[in-house]
């Protein structure tokens, strides 16, 4: 019989989901795999590859990480509350995986914005280098995370962040005016 139809197992899994399991250096061993991913051993459980996800990506970038299985079901194995709990070496491994997973360049300078026939063409500098991208006007391409923090989604669904629009120059803000 297939695993997913085992009722007792399903109940056990549901109960497990209710528990919050914090992972720390005493109960969890993270290791980098030769292929560049992350493996985890928690007691007797061995996971050849795990995924690391931020639970609050816009609020807490450094901590409250959900460690999940890498298969389609992506089940949570445990939570890393803060980097100190796992030690500096493991923290670096986790940061490396997070860096692979999340890609939201921060816009540091707006060189030029041109709007033409319903699309806006951005030419910007980011913390990952210069970049040009296009957004659709009139849609939900610009999301206000707060009064001064915005997230911009381009037509390919790449995301760009401006953490504080007040830190842009007046000229740059003027270029952005249409979207604020």
């Amino acid at each position: 019989m297939k695993e997913e139809f085992q009722l007792s197992q399903m109940e056990q899994e549901t109960d497990e989901m209710l528990r919050i399991r914090y992972l720390n250096k005493d109960n969890a061993v993270f290791q980098k795999t030769p292929g560049g991913f992350l493996s985890l051993t928690v007691g007797e459980e061995v996971y050849p590859r795990v995924q690391v996800a931020r639970m609050f990506p816009f609020m807490y970038k450094e901590g409250l990480l959900s460690i999940r299985t890498a298969d389609e079901r992506s089940k949570e194995i445990g939570i890393v509350e803060k980097y100190e709990d796992v030690g500096a070496e493991t923290a670096d491994l986790l940061k490396e995986q997070l860096n692979l997973k999340y890609f939201t360049p921060v816009i540091t300078r707006i060189n030029h914005i041109k709007d033409e026939y319903g699309y806006a063409y951005f030419d910007v500098d980011t913390n990952h280098g210069p970049c040009k991208f296009t957004i659709q006007m009139g849609g939900n391409a610009v999301v206000h995370l707060s009064e001064t923090r915005i997230l911009i989604m381009d037509i390919d669904e790449n995301r760009f962040e401006i953490p504080d629009i007040m830190e842009l120059t007046a000229g740059e803000r003027k270029k952005l005016d249409l979207f604020l």
Binding site: G35, L100, E116, Y117, G118, I155, D156, N158
Partner: protein, 732 residues
């Protein structure tokens, strides 16, 4: 979508292709492991190897035979690509969201190459931006600017005009009339001033004649313009009507996948907004385009001939005037955009609170919501106020600035008149021409934008009209009365070429048999049914209906003999009667009542205040799920189909409804070949055979008892459901 980017000669050299080796796929790795943007880095797959080029160097190389598979995994706004080699996952590269879809094809491409086949995987998805000019593509296959179609589209536009040649000819005559009258009016004014008013003898008669002529011309131009606008608007309406009808017919003929790939909103936009834009263009722009262009050229020539020095002075200010007008328009657009955005925010906020009123009230958050709403409303009011003040103050200033050229012409012309180089009449005529010039300039500076809007809409319309319908009558298609034998022979199918949903399916169904389809979600049950309904065609193999290839039966003829009852049945806006008669519009009232009775629907329909005339659908009477279901069964019953499809027809119903529907379905399926999908296995107890689909294939076939004895997947499913229901009963 491009799956093979071009490589430079240097990069090609780095690949070191051997004889007989060919690059099949080449996709950018546009960000590095740290997330920095980079150029000149690619994942390359040849028929033998996988190569990773990073910033001008070959960094990794694997033989296709040396690893099991290549996979891409979407991350947050980016993706990673890795191979599985000896069971170990090895990260090979990273790319931005722009290339996510492209990389999803790589796996399929590798499978084909590994199996020794040589066909290329082709992506039917469109690029989001033009690979040549970088401009965003408005949901079209080709860039309206780069494809050279821009001019072609103008021809398309003229093609649309063809059936309306006579109307067009009348409009052209009117345009010429408008041109002549507009140009002649200042000339008559000049004549009036110079030759009549300034002459020593009092020629009252001539003066009155001039004034009457001018009056007649003014009235004439009003009539001509009104007639022209009326005819152009009508022409626009005719053209958009033609286009709408064409689009609607085309969309109905396209495959469901074309429809599903686009949101209903997008398709509606194409039928309604894009055609409206074309019509607007004809109505507002086209009718003035020729008049303005001819007048503009004539005015320029006239001015040069009359006084070339003054003409140059007037022209010198033209760029300034165009600049001011464009900057002004940009500013206005920005202001309106902002006002619109804020208004949307207020609306959104209102809609949110009103639809969530119960939640707001039950948590006692009325005050907080009210404060929040006040803030947004205030912000909107502030912007609206600013805009109105801006208009009140700047508009008169702008009008003045735009006409600065006219004042200068008046000044210098006045000086020349005083010096006797120019007559007062000529000056007046000149001033008139200068203001005409500036008016036309303002209008013409907006032309490219209006033209581009129209061209984009034409392109989007053409994109649908030029689609090849996926399901159509093949040349040798015949009409066939279905008996009910269905056979799948090595049938394979996938909605996307790289993702097979059904592989190598073989199944023989006899006439009148009821087949229960079982399997986990997403295994392909509905796909199998879609293939039987001939909404899609198989990629490989064939489906035979009474021994005839399904592709050789006329589509409409085939569809008219199928009955469908789904879990969520769509009722059209209209009466219950019309909904039941949908499949057979010429059915008699007696037939309708008979069908409704067979479907156990007659009783509840008669209890409704308006009986069979009850209005249902949007804004109409709301039927319960079970009632809708029975109307749908009556609809299927009326048609007396030879082939029946029941897709979760009894899911999510209460026990009484289910009993009534089971009974109705029992009558409906009698003697007809039936395919029924059900999650609740108890509803399949009447099925002659059960087909279990798993892993893209038919995993088990047999009667309920046979499959239970086999203790395979079906047995597991039945046990699991039994345990769950027993547990639920025990808990109760």
């Amino acid at each position: 979508m491009i799956l093979k980017y071009d490589l430079t000669q240097d990069n090609l050299k780095l690949c070191g292709l051997q004889e007989g080796e060919e690059i099949y796929y080449c996709l950018p790795l546009d960000i590095d492991m740290k997330g920095d943007f980079r150029q000149n880095s690619y994942t390359i797959m040849t028929n033998r190897r996988l190569l990773i080029l990073e910033e001008g160097a070959l960094t990794r190389e694997y033989l296709l035979a040396d690893f099991e598979m290549i996979k891409s995994e979407p991350q947050i706004s980016c993706g990673i690509c890795y191979i599985v080699k000896d069971g170990q996952e090895i990260l090979v590269g990273r790319f931005s969201a722009k290339h996510l879809t492209r990389y999803s094809y790589l796996h399929r491409g590798m499978q084909i190459l590994k199996s020794g086949r040589t066909e290329h995987v082709i992506s039917r998805e469109y690029e989001h931006s033009c690979p040549k000019c970088g401009r965003a593509l408005p949901g079209t296959k080709e860039c309206p600017r780069c494809s050279g179609k821009r001019e072609g589209l103008l021809f398309t536009f003229l093609d649309m005009m063809k059936p309306h040649k006579k109307r067009l000819a009348v409009i052209l005559v009117l345009m010429l009339g408008a041109t002549v009258v507009t140009l002649a009016n200042p000339a008559i004014q000049k004549h009036l001033v110079d030759d009549v008013l300034l002459r020593e003898e009092k020629a009252y008669g001539a003066a009155i004649a001039c004034i009457l002529l001018m009056f007649a011309m003014s009235v004439g131009i009003v009539i001509i313009n009104a007639a022209k606008s009326y005819l152009c608007t009508r022409l626009g309406a005719y053209i958009s009507e033609d286009q709408r009808a064409k689009l609607f017919n085309k969309i109905q003929g396209l495959t469901i996948s074309f429809i599903n790939e686009r949101t209903p909103g997008e398709l509606m936009n194409r039928i309604i907004r894009d055609t409206a834009r074309v019509s607007e263009f004809v109505g507002n722009v086209f009718c003035n385009m020729f008049t303005v262009s001819i007048l503009f050229v004539c005015v320029c020539i006239y001015m040069l001939v009359l006084n070339w020095k003054l003409a140059i002075l007037a022209f010198a200010f033209a760029p300034l005037s165009v600049g001011i007008s464009m900057a002004w328009r940009k500013n206005i657009r920005k202001r309106f955009h902002l006002q619109g955005a804020k208004s949307d925010k207020v609306n959104g906020n209102l809609q949110d609170v009103i639809s969530g009123m119960a939640v707001v009230k039950s948590y006692g958050q009325e005050r907080r919501e009210a404060e929040h709403f006040d803030d947004t409303a205030e912000e909107f009011a502030r912007i609206q106020r600013n805009n109105e003040v801006f208009f009140a103050i700047f508009y008169p200033m702008l009008t003045f600035a735009m006409s600065v050229g006219t004042y200068l012409v008046t000044y210098y012309g006045g000086c020349q008149t005083l010096a006797g180089d120019m007559t007062p009449g000529e000056l007046m005529q000149y001033i008139n021409y200068t203001s005409l010039l500036y008016t036309y300039l303002g209008w013409m500076s907006n032309m490219p934008r209006m033209l581009m809007n129209m061209v984009t809409s034409l392109e989007r319309i053409g994109d649908v009209l030029n689609q090849e319908p996926g399901i159509y009558d093949h040349e040798d298609a015949v009409e066939h009365e279905i008996q009910g034998d269905i056979e799948f022979r090595n049938a394979s199918f996938g909605y996307k070429s790289y993702q097979p949903v059904l592989e190598n399916v073989n199944l023989k169904v006899k006439k009148g048999e009821m087949i229960g389809l079982v399997g986990a979600s997403g295994t392909g049950k509905s796909t199998l049914i879609n293939l039987i309904m001939h909404l899609y065609e198989v990629d490989d193999g064939e489906i035979l209906v009474d021994g005839i290839d399904i592709r050789k039966i006329k589509v409409e003829n085939y569809h008219s003999q199928i009955g469908v009852v789904l879990q969520e049945n769509f009722l059209f806006t209209g009466t219950i009667l019309n909904n039941i008669k949908f499949a057979k519009p010429d059915a008699t009232i007696e037939e309708v009542i008979h069908a409704a009775k067979m479907a156990n629907a007659h009783e509840f329909i008669c209890k409704l205040p308006d009986g069979y005339n009850t209005y249902v659908g949007e804004k109409g009477y709301t039927l319960s799920g079970g009632e809708r279901q029975r109307v749908a069964i009556a609809r299927a019953m009326l048609n007396n189909p030879r082939l029946l499809i029941l897709d979760e027809a009894t899911a999510s119903l209460d026990t009484e409804s289910e009993y009534l529907i089971q009974k109705a379905l029992g009558r409906l399926t009698e003697g007809k070949t039936t395919f029924a999908i059900a999650h609740r296995l108890s509803t399949l107890k009447d099925a002659d055979r059960v087909v279990v689909i798993d892993g893209h294939q038919i995993a088990e076939v047999g009667t309920h008892n046979e499959l239970m004895e086999k203790k395979g997947i079906y047995y597991g499913l039945v046990q699991a459901q039994l345990q769950t229901s027993m547990k639920a009963e025990a808990d109760a």
